[in-house]
Amino acid sequence: MTDIMVEVSGLTRRFDVSSPWLNRLLQREPRRILTAVDDVSFSIARGSTYALVGESGSGKSTIAKLVLGLLKPTAGQVLVDGSDLSATATAASDALRRRVQMIFQDPYASLNPRWRVGDIISEPIEVFGLEPDAGARARRVAELLDQVGLAASDATKFPHQFSGGQRQRIGIARALASRPEFIVCDEPTSALDVSVQAQVLNLMRDLQSELGLTYLFISHDLSVVRYMADQVGVLYLGRLVETATRDALFEAPCHPYTRMLLDAAPRIDGFGREHQTDGGEIPDPINPPSGCHYHPRCALATERCRVEVPAVSNLEGRQVVCHEATQILSGSVDL
């Protein structure tokens, strides 16, 4: 039995994106419900990295907010180390909040431009009352800056005095300030240049092994996911379509969508490569296709796929949500 840090079960979140009721009444519009996350379950082992990968509309950022308790789920629950973060404010959930942190995508929007770096990093320390003494707090800020590769003197500067990569380091220092155990990373390097991305990814890997952190790593970039993840979940229109270990997923993807996604990702050694694209695009998430959401784009789709939502099949240590999964894995169908 592995040591589970985060347990997500049956997580569902719907948004009401209807027009105001007067407009609905006048234009005879029905209510419009967007199911951003649809019955998603996964668990993250302590000290490991679970990556959620998906394109736009896949619901990956909504899952991040749900896991952090910034949004309430419509159904299902998130347990962090056995307790529910979305429970109403109690002493237990306050204590839990300290142990959960986040690294954001946009290093320009995630730091308050009017605050000094030192104040930004010491805010969580102050809020959780970790260092009551101001001098100790300043020393802790210096230690954190050092940990992410910045200088202690940077504490007096403002965010605009730093480059994107350095800002992301400041964001990481803030995330580490409350000594968390679990960090949600929402596209942490997608706003960065590649050479800087490598610095930040390596830093995050080093910190993980140094501090025993657990990551939920959210990304649209398969190359970054391959570099960071232990376990990968592939999302399509709010549903998990395939979950597998990193190696299993990249070496032998099973779900037709995963296969298409892997083929479409540009490769730095794919000179003159031709893509086998399906020509389709992500459908409107408010009116998603019936049955398996991927069926209109899928080469293997049958009548059953159009009607019936596939169940999860457990195959050789991976979970695949596809009617044809067994056949695909056995190699009896060709994509």
Binding site: L70, N112, W115
Partner: protein, 316 residues
């Protein structure tokens, strides 16, 4: 960790250098209009502030007035006392220069207080509307919309009238200044609220607010510690432009006879008094207070225009 004691507070000299090198300061140094406007405004502020020391006479001390000096033209000698009045005297023998200094003092006080009141009210309501959203936002903004359909001078008149009605007659003159501040302030909060609401809506979607929510910061702390500093840029522009407007609104109300009482005249009251004598040849009683009002309002307005352009990244 290292033995270096890190400090979160930078030195004063580095802060000063930072201000001097900032974009705002650079834009100021390169705008002659802004510099002249600032010079005029500063001179008028100082004159108003030090009125008791600068003014050659105390115009509101009945004991020092000599009715015989009434209607002395500029640079003329009073018929009663023989004193020289630079800008002449009014019907009661009050030195126009001194009344202008004291009047400006009152005008500025009312204007600044009214804008401060409007800003505090508008910024607070705007922040709440923008951050909380939903029906709170709808309620605040509908009230604002309704108020916007009335001219602000009418709103001020209305509030002024209601307030006067509620105050017993013997306190009216005493309370007049505060009633003016209240009515002008209430007529001007809308623009602050609308602007701040817009900025607050944009800012509250940014990740630094999420980060603060994540560690359990209460809405009040997020509003005032995180959002407030980030919406102050446009507020400072509106405040400057509205200061000019508040001074003019006050002058208008006083001119209409519903503002500052004649016993404690503001620039508007002085203009109102002077108007009576324009066609009988005593032009100075009207001209000099009017010129002062013009210089005051214009310099503040030009400063506001400059500030708006300087803070607008698109125009740089």
């Amino acid at each position: 960790m290292s033995s270096v004691q890190p400090t979160l507070k930078p030195s004063i000299s580095s802060r000063l250098r930072g201000v001097w090198e900032s974009d705002i300061a650079w834009s100021f140094r390169h705008s002659p209009v802004a510099m002249i406007a600032a010079f005029v405004f500063l001179a008028l502020i100082l004159a108003a502030l030090f009125a008791p020391w600068i003014a050659p006479y105390t115009p509101f001390d009945p004991a020092s007035l000599n009715l015989m000096d009434g209607f002395t033209p500029p640079m003329g000698e009073g018929m009663g006392s023989g004193s020289v009045y630079w800008l002449g005297t009014d019907d009661q023998g009050r030195d126009v220069f001194s009344t202008i200094l004291y009047g400006m003092r009152l005008s500025l006080f009312i204007g600044l207080s009214a804008v401060a009141f409007a800003a505090v009210l508008g910024v607070t309501l705007g922040l709440i509307a923008g951050y909380v959203g939903g029906w709170v936002d709808a309620l605040i903004m509908r009230v604002a919309d309704i108020q916007l359909t009335f001219p602000s001078i009418m709103v001020a008149l209305l509030i002024f009238g209601i307030a006067r009605g509620l105050i017993p007659a013997e306190y009216r003159d005493q309370m007049a200044v505060w009633v003016l501040i209240l009515s002008i302030g209430l007529s001007e909060w809308v623009q602050f609220a609308r602007t701040v609401r817009g900025s607050a809506m944009v800012e509250s979607k940014k990740d630094y607010v999420q980060a603060a929510r994540l560690i359990g910061r209460k809405p009040r702390q997020i509003l005032f510690r995180h959002l407030l500093p980030n919406v102050m840029g446009p507020v400072s522009v509106i405040a400057t432009i509205y200061l000019a407007l508040a001074i003019i609104t006050e002058a208008t109300l006083s001119f209409l006879g519903v503002g500052a009482p004649p016993t404690r005249p503001s620039l508007g009251t002085l203009i109102s008094i002077g108007q009576d004598y324009l066609f009988s040849g005593e032009w100075w009683i009207l001209l000099f207070p009017s010129m002062t009002l013009l210089a005051l309002a214009l310099s503040v307005n030009l400063l506001g225009d400059w500030l708006r352009d300087a803070l607008n990244p698109k125009l740089q």
